[in-house]
């Protein structure tokens, strides 16, 4: 092993890679697109406020303004005003694709002052049950407070809301390690299956064997390139996850071994798949058979804990599961003991595939 030759070959491989847009797409852009889509679709549900359209027929009287401020203050709903001249609110809601509305009747302020009973009209859509419940609870709570104040009483029992555990984890917290795992898998697998089969066909390995570069040096330089890509992807996912979606993930020291060993594992696996295939076409098929189940069943997009119980053992035989589980343990829970188990599994698999791949893969012909 001559590191000078590794250093000489590395930029040549990197150039060839960077100049092929498809490779860079899978390595860096694809995971970014995924985190933006999945982050945007799933991180809003349950955590943010339900929009509530309010038609104030009492024309911003002191009492109606105070009531709406109290509603906004619950942080359960966000109030948006609809003009009193807009007509029937129910029709307005359906034409504007809104699911919750509130009508404050004319004379609201005067009726409160006279202790005349008031009816607030609340519109909800039963098909979005959780939102309906949130709206009803919020309006009911504010109305109760108002009733109590008007009755001249003060609150005796006040609940205090606390979370279980130190942090609440949201979907994005699981998505970031999942997508880092995905890019550790996808870009080496797709590239190496392609490289090992088309380079064999085009006799590029024969060409390299005419130089002093050894197979081990070639493989080292190649793996180093995918480790670099994995790092870049990790930084991207962390930055987008934290700053765009407020994820609670951080780059702990125990994250690093997975970003180094993961690419070794999947470069070797891709090389092996391409080497044992007779043509680039069959290599592509074999590569997809290996890659796609791992892409979806290793906890990439959803935590394995949400899988139906019969699917969990399947996840447990996929190498990527241990990479993602380890990354989650390292980045999210920072629990070293759980990380070590995952790391040992990944390390053993990486060494095994590396040895198989270098055995099967030859530059010269007998």
């Amino acid at each position: 092993m001559n590191l000078r030759r590794v250093a000489a070959y590395f930029p040549a491989y990197a150039r060839g890679y960077v100049r092929n847009p498809l490779g860079l797409f899978f390595a860096l852009i694809f995971p970014v697109i995924l985190i933006l889509i999945f982050g945007a679709v799933f991180s809003n549900s349950g955590s943010s406020e339900v929009p509530l359209a309010v038609q104030d027929l009492d024309h911003n009287s002191a009492a109606s303004v105070a009531f709406l401020q109290a509603l906004n203050g619950t942080n359960a709903v966000s109030v948006s005003m609809v003009s009193p001249t807009a007509g029937n609110l129910s029709a307005y809601l359906s034409s504007h694709d809104l699911s919750a509305g509130l009508v404050i009747p004319a004379g609201f302020s005067a009726d409160l002052a006279n202790h005349t009973p008031v009816r607030l009209l609340v519109f909800t859509n039963p098909s979005s049950g959780s939102e309906a419940g949130i709206v009803e609870g919020a309006v009911q709570g504010v109305a109760n407070g108002e009733n109590l104040r008007l009755a001249g009483g003060s609150a005796v029992v006040t609940p205090v809301y606390l979370n279980v555990g130190s942090t609440t984890y949201t979907y994005i917290d699981y998505l970031v390690p999942g997508l880092i795992g995905l890019s550790v898998l996808v870009s080496p697998m797709f590239s190496m299956v392609n490289v090992s089969s088309t380079w064999k066909r085009d006799k590029l390995f024969r060409q390299l064997s005419l130089t002093p570069l050894s197979r081990a040096e070639w493989l080292t330089a190649t793996i180093l390139w995918y480790i670099l890509l994995a790092f870049l992807s990790t930084i991207l996912m962390l930055a987008i996850g934290r700053f765009l979606f407020g994820a609670h993930v951080s780059l702990t020291l125990l994250t690093l071994p997975f970003i180094v060993v993961g690419p070794i594992l999947f470069v070797s696996l891709g090389l092996l798949a391409g080497t044992v295939s007779s043509s680039p076409e069959s290599a592509g098929v074999l590569g997809n058979i290996i890659t796609f189940p791992m892409m979806f069943l290793s906890g990439t997009f959803f935590p394995v804990s949400l899988f139906p119980s019969w699917l969990v053992p399947v996840a447990h035989v996929l190498p990527l599961y241990y990479v993602i589980d380890g990354l989650s343990n390292a980045m999210l829970f920072n629990s070293p003991s759980a990380v070590y188990t995952d790391l040992i599994v990944v390390l053993v698999l990486a060494v095994a595939f590396f040895v198989f791949a270098t055995r099967a893969f030859s530059w010269r012909e007998d």
Partner: protein, 313 residues
């Protein structure tokens, strides 16, 4: 003269098939030596064994005094190879390719000078996959020369090239010889072998059937020089009756010459015959004629392979 390559009784078998079947040859320092043969004759298999890319089944091989399979690490830095169907990384430029090789071989290479001598300087910064077939081969030549090799292997370097690109590559090969390098060339183009080589081995079905300089091979295996007379076809009968070996043609006759003086006597007899004739020319066999005759005679069994292979001058 010292031998650069010595091959004795080389055999390469794939199962029952003997792709190379007892080849022996010797390449001398500083010469251009060619393997000439049809496709599938065993040229590439032999060359790849000499380059250390393939393991032999039997026989002895010494290239620059080394065993090319087991001592490839020492051999690699002293030889330059342009393999058959040379390919390179599609997204690298010729300049980057040469730099990469220089760094891998740990040699200082004048990149511009190397690219200039294969006439690629104007394409130095274009991606390999945008270059033509002839330019691809030139990248191959430039890469083979990065380590300043004393021995160059070129395996069918001009196959698939247009005539202009072929001639341009021939110039490069002639220059290699002028620089004192030994060149081992394989080709199935006879004119190429005849133009470039000091010595040739004709190989067919894994065996060498003739070895020597192009002139020696023609002299030994070709037919005698012939005189062609354009004119009355009945000239053939007249000349045959005088004891000459003739061949009838539609527009005249072709007569084998045993000596130069025969030509004068034949022309005198022709003039004396009173039969009409309009012109004459002489013709010697080219390497191509010899090659086609030899391969044909091998196939119909009239030329045993064993006798012809002893044709060293």
């Amino acid at each position: 003269m010292t031998a650069t390559i010595e091959v004795t009784n080389l055999v390469k078998s794939y199962g029952a098939l003997r792709a190379v079947d007892g080849v022996s040859c010797e390449v001398r320092a500083g010469e251009v030596f060619s393997f000439l043969g049809p496709n599938g004759a065993g040229k590439t298999t032999t060359v790849e064994i000499l380059e250390g890319l393939r393991r032999r089944t039997g026989g002895e091989v010494r290239v620059l005094g080394l065993d090319p399979w087991s001592q490839i690490d020492r051999l690699r830095t002293r030889i330059g190879v342009i393999p058959q169907d040379f390919h390179f990384f599609p997204k690298l430029t010729p300049r980057e390719a040469v730099r990469l090789y220089a760094r891998l071989f740990a040699v200082k290479a004048d990149v511009d000078e190397l690219l200039a001598r294969v006439e690629l300087l104007d394409k130095a910064d274009d991606h390999y996959d945008t270059l033509s077939g002839g330019q691809h081969q030139k990248v191959g030549v430039a890469l083979a020369l990065v380590n300043d090799p004393e021995l160059c292997f070129l395996d069918e370097p001009t196959t698939g090239l247009d005539p202009r690109a072929r001639r341009s590559l021939w110039e490069v090969i002639r220059r290699l010889r002028r620089e004192g390098r030994t060149v081992f060339l394989t080709t199935h183009y006879l004119d190429e072998a005849q133009q470039l080589s000091d010595r040739i081995s004709i190989i067919n079905q894994g065996r060498i059937i003739a070895t020597g300089s192009p002139d020696e091979i023609i002299a030994r295996y070709g037919r005698p020089e012939r005189l062609k007379i354009v004119g009355d076809p009945s000239l053939a009968d007249r000349l045959a009756s005088l004891g000459y070996r003739v061949e009838r043609l539609n527009d005249g006759v072709e007569v084998e010459l045993l000596s130069k003086a025969d030509a004068l006597r034949i022309l005198e007899s022709t003039a004396a015959s009173g039969l009409g004739w309009t012109g004459f020319s002489t013709r010697t066999d080219t390497l191509e004629d010899v090659f086609i005759q030899m391969v044909g005679r091998l196939e119909d069994g009239s030329l045993p392979t064993g006798t012809a292979s002893g044709a060293k001058p």
